[in-house]
Symmetry: C2
Amino acid sequence: MGEMTIKDIAKMCGVGISTVSRAINNHPDINPETKAMINATIKEYGYIPNNSARNLKRTEAKSIAVLVKGISNIFFSSMIKVMEEEIKKRKYTMVLHHVEFNEDEVDVALQLVKEKRLAGIIFLGGYFHHSEEKLKKLHVPFVLSTIGCPPENFSKKGYSSISVDDELESYHMVTWLIKNGHQRIAILCAALDDESIGKLRLDGYLRALKENQIEIDQQLIRPMSKEMEQYSLQSGYTLTQQLLEDGIKCSAVYAISDMMAIGACKAIFDSGKQIPEDYSLAGFDGTELGAFYHPALTTVRQPVEEMAQATAKLLFEVLSEKSIHKHRIFPAELIIRESTRKIK
Amino acid sequence: MGEMTIKDIAKMCGVGISTVSRAINNHPDINPETKAMINATIKEYGYIPNNSARNLKRTEAKSIAVLVKGISNIFFSSMIKVMEEEIKKRKYTMVLHHVEFNEDEVDVALQLVKEKRLAGIIFLGGYFHHSEEKLKKLHVPFVLSTIGCPPENFSKKGYSSISVDDELESYHMVTWLIKNGHQRIAILCAALDDESIGKLRLDGYLRALKENQIEIDQQLIRPMSKEMEQYSLQSGYTLTQQLLEDGIKCSAVYAISDMMAIGACKAIFDSGKQIPEDYSLAGFDGTELGAFYHPALTTVRQPVEEMAQATAKLLFEVLSEKSIHKHRIFPAELIIRESTRKIK
DNA sequence: TTGTACGCGTTATCAT
DNA sequence: ATGATAACGCGTACAA
């Protein structure tokens, strides 16, 4: 069981512990020759420093945690890649962590701050209704990236945020559908008590209808239930299947995520109907998958790469005290592809 | 910066450190009243034990690491869920970690063993060509789950494994295509120096052709290049686009992953052709996405849930010393859906 | 049942 | 440039 420690290496090299430590951590005060010698033996014996001990002792760990909400959330994978690059570029380490929909991301963050001596945190996706009290315990700067509703009760000075205007972009999408002749538009949305992007996207839908004097039909509003896997293929499928079974008339279906939109498409195909001939279908997010689907999905593209880059930038600006916390809203882009058409 | 420690809690409660420790870790030797009192103050002040310190001290941490190869690998997400349940059921903690395609999973594992005092490791997906020497340093039991080529040089007694017979199942798929009249079958496969599932699936393809006296046409073999994101939508698209541009005649395209198959479909649609009328298309994996695609993908379904369960079971059997290392191969299932058809 | 004291493996501080 | 030693926060053997 005898795992090797820094002591063993020190003995083998005939030097003191601190010298080995210096070699490992690239400290300046060390003879290049001894350093090379030590590194050679480290390599030879495959010694690996114990991270727990390091974190325990270290004052500053130069690491940033990225907490992603929803494990299979494919939407974030390209963002994570960009963030990793940005973080590495600045000689920091990225600690990636997935948080389930039913877990509390702030609790996880609190844990990690203690364990890893984080320099900062990036929260990616999900809701965000946490008490100010709890957030204050997070003694490191953090930024909320692509999170719908920043906590209104918490001072905006306490964190940075990056997002699109979900309400507005959703409004754009629905307005565009209306302009293309659609009057009866079903929406596949989040549970009605949602307080995050789900609510905002629904709000945009409602506003677009209202401004165009289209009466709101509750039958066309199809919220996910809590039991469904949120924003998933299957939830989109089930919701649309029920919509069709209920015999609700509509010419377009608007899903608040691309994954749900694909599920919706399948349900429509399975019922023997065509897209966009019988139903127009729109999604939200602008995922790669939507572009590869057949028919290619009309959707709202969030500029994920730019947003990821900006997220890292904001965080590091706060870290280097060059800047205070900021809140940036990115414009999204309506991408019209094959799954929608003009009617009448 | 004064983060709270166990000492502070002890002082506040007017008890010793060890008593607090006992309360936290549910030790038996403690007065229920003092325990309740301590827990109350812990909650009140939001004290969180430092995990680094705990890991440093603890001999056995009751945690299992799951190392997943390829961050956006959607194929594994359902397996991970099952594994988490199984691990929690046995009062262990799951530590999930993603490993990039260019990272060395054993190095990561070595790190984690030191840092987290792991009880065991599950490697999920990817290649596996590691030196026996390195694997021996991994002093904890591990199981290779859905990994193509277990290291032949390393004694099978040193680890457990769970997989399907990739060569055989691939052979089944291609044989079925041949039985349905396809003679010229293109394969979208891994780089030719691949030594893992990629190679095995290609081997199955080659054997099926050979047994049916179909000449192997190198033009029909389309390996991913190293620069492509492996097994991705885009790689499937690019490979198929090149195939079509090269004017290679074929009636079926067989992609060694569902994601690549979907990319291939898109390339065919974009060229103005239809599936399955002009080309039959087959995938591999049996992902949810393949079922939701339009047309629904013909594919090889790996019994992921059962395999995940078996993975956990094998590991815990070794941990409890009820059993030695085993190697289980699961049968996969040919799922015929809409993307393929009989010709001639 | 409870408290004291030591050590886990490392880094930081201070000598040398 | 290098080495000894004191923390870091916690679990646990042992004493009380």
